[in-house]
């Protein structure tokens, strides 16, 4: 760190902590959405191996596009506030899924006979957009953490650790425990709520940090 005044050091530490927290929560969020999304497909497309294939394909394509877009977006005035906004936006795109997802999936069942294409189309409707936006979080967060090329490997490793650990936690908690307690839609609303608290809180805090500087 160039600036060694205690206040700025603390601010940097809080800033970095916030970046990692968003990446970790985003990892949790995206896996929980994938698991619950697959659950939403089962009534119309079943639980065959190719339904899982469709789910995972759409998920990987979404992340791939997200990485590309997130990297590009990080070139233009990157900030913690924008990172938090990305995660909030990903959560917001679940609202139409919650409101209209069921009828749209029923409609797809009627339109598409082959459950392979049906599950790909259904997955795309449910979680392609939230996955793309969530995919943008990782490269964008790397940009915010890294200050010089020497530490870029270490810091991106650290970031991937937390975001992937968050994914593991999201998968495990959702599939082993949360589905025992809450319904799918209640879980999705909870994911939105937690995103508002975590990313919304960081967004507000980042504005306060920026103001005096």
């Amino acid at each position: 760190m160039n600036d060694t005044t205690p206040r700025t050091a603390t601010r940097h530490r809080a800033h970095d902590f916030a970046v990692v927290a968003i990446a970790a929560w985003s990892g949790f969020f995206v896996m929980a959405v994938e698991l619950l999304g697959a659950r939403m497909l089962a009534p119309n497309f079943g639980n065959s191996i190719y339904v899982w294939g469709g789910v995972i394909t759409v998920f990987m394509i979404g992340l791939a596009i997200g990485y590309l877009l997130g990297g590009q977006y990080s070139l233009r005035q990157p900030s913690l506030g924008r990172l938090a906004s990305l995660q909030l936006l990903a959560a917001a795109t679940l609202v139409p899924v919650l409101l209209f997802g069921g009828p749209v999936l029923d409609e797809l069942f009627v339109l598409i006979e082959d459950p392979r294409w049906g599950s790909i189309a259904g997955s795309a409707v449910i979680f392609l957009v939230p996955t793309i936006i969530s995919g943008m979080v990782s490269p964008y967060a790397v940009r915010l953490l890294v200050e010089d090329s020497r530490t870029s490997g270490r810091l991106s490793g650290l970031l991937f650790f937390f975001s992937t650990f968050g994914s593991a936690a999201g998968t495990l908690l959702t599939s082993f425990y949360l589905v025992l307690v809450l319904e799918i839609n209640q879980l999705l609303w909870s994911l939105i709520g937690i995103s508002v608290v975590v990313s919304g809180g960081i967004l507000l805090a980042s504005r306060r940090w920026r103001a005096p500087a």
């Binding site: 079943g46 065959s48 191996i49 294939g53 995972i56 975001s163 992937t164 998968t171 599939s175």
Partner: protein, 316 residues
Amino acid sequence: MTGIAAPTRPAPASRRPALRRFALALLAPLVVLAPLAGHAALGGERVVHREKSLYRDILVVESDGQRCLAFSVRKRVTNRQSCIYPAQPERLALDYTRMMLIGLYAQPAPQRVLVVGLGGGILPQALARLVPQAQVDSVEIDEAVVRVAQRWFGYRTSPRSAVAVQDGRVYVKRALRAGTRYDLVFLDAYDHEYVPEHLLTREFLREVRAVLAPGGIVVANTFSSSRLYHSESATWAAAFGGFAQLELANRVIVASNGPLPTVGQLRTQAARWAPAFAPLGIEGTWLVDLWRADPRWNERARVLTDQYSPSNLLNR
């Protein structure tokens, strides 16, 4: 029989976060599957065929003149799905298969029958002999199970007995849309170790109810224990208003979109079917004696729905 949650293998470790995230995501289901995957030695049983399908390990084992289809091996006890006596192909070797035939007491002259979950194909084969006028449609998610049923268990398709390789839920929904109705539906898609969760929800059972012809009967072979027993009961009651059951090691649930038969009617049918059922190993009023018209369960148990269906977590 339906497969297990995420039957995919982890991608090789990679520096790319996407693949790593993907691999980690898949670890959770694998941890669950690990104990099921081992091939314990089978005491006194001979494995005559073994194959890995997209969904599970399929074994054909023989002992004491019996040949059984098993899906996984655990604690040296095979998990038998279907058994036959190759020397007496008509005889039904397992209690649950015999118990499910109570469907023919309740619906003695079905024109169209649906079997969800083929196993060894024992049930469709028995139906082809017992109600030769009926059209029997079977649906099985695992193509390998169909092959094994044909090669090892004498299952034969014919113009009157067809099989579709498809998810049972999708099949029922398509049948509903096509306007097909069944006089008799057999659900045999659940086992000790795995319940396809989307096939045990109020919505699915309502779809099954809707696909029944007037006065149609559904018979389900279930294995639930502990908390799932109560939730399963509540779910059937929510979809059908009520149900009857026969319970030994398995529980066979019987429900209808009309009134269920009385014990008197069942006795009449038992007498009528006695000559045909005797070679199968069903004697006298055995099935009627097992019939319970007023099953009890914990009324506070939560109904399973498409929104809430942790069947496998409840079944332990």
